[in-house]
């Protein structure tokens, strides 16, 4: 009975991580790739570690490290994504051509606006 629960956790977690990685490959620019990588990969990993924790709990081992890992991943993955995407935006990485609205650009002071040109592909 407990094995069915663990199998459900493992399968849903790995499928969510696969969806995140397919999003990293398929989506057009850095910001949308960040969205795919952060949301679904984080939920997938949290579900899978929860399955591992359930397995060891059923065997009689209470593993505190796995609980700390769940909390840590849940707290820090969005923070890392926010810092990476802000860094990319400040260095003038191009948005996708179909993007409608850039709210972060309006919050810069005039002299600090990042310049956007297309040659700035691989070196900051």
């Amino acid at each position: 009975m407990i094995e069915i629960l663990i199998s459900l956790f493992v399968l849903s977690g790995s499928l969510l991580s696969l969806i995140g990685s397919i999003g990293i490959i398929r989506l057009p620019d850095v910001y949308t790739r960040m969205h795919a990588a952060t949301k679904s990969a984080t939920l997938g990993v949290v579900l899978l570690i929860l399955g591992t924790f359930t397995y060891f709990l059923a065997e009689g081992i209470f593993s505190l490290q796995l609980l700390i890992t769940i909390v840590f991943v849940f707290l820090t993955a969005p923070v890392a994504a926010m810092i990476i995407s802000r860094s990319a935006h400040r260095n003038g990485v191009e948005l996708w051509s179909h993007t409608k609205h850039d709210e972060l650009m309006e919050s810069y002071p005039k002299h600090l606006e990042p310049e956007r040109n297309t040659e700035k592909s691989d070196n900051p």
């Binding site: 990588a37 570690i49 065997e59």
Partner: protein, 93 residues
Amino acid sequence: MFETVLLIGLVIFSFSLLLCVWRALKGPTLWDRVVALDSFGLNLIGFIGILMIRQSTSAYAEVVLVLGILAFVGSVSLAKFLERGVVIDRDSH
């Protein structure tokens, strides 16, 4: 049955790791590579989690925790370095 599910999970995770490596090698900008490496770290945590169930040992629990911490610290410091050229900046904006 349970073994088969774990094996399917391992195969799915290795395919997902492969996709992350491809984006990290290919990515047009440096930030794409940082995103791909961050996601690679997260997927590696899941991979080791399945491995823990499969081998029925809790010896890798510290490995999982340290990998989580290293993925976070690595991506944050890399992003800060690419932003200004320093890791800890003293400017307020």
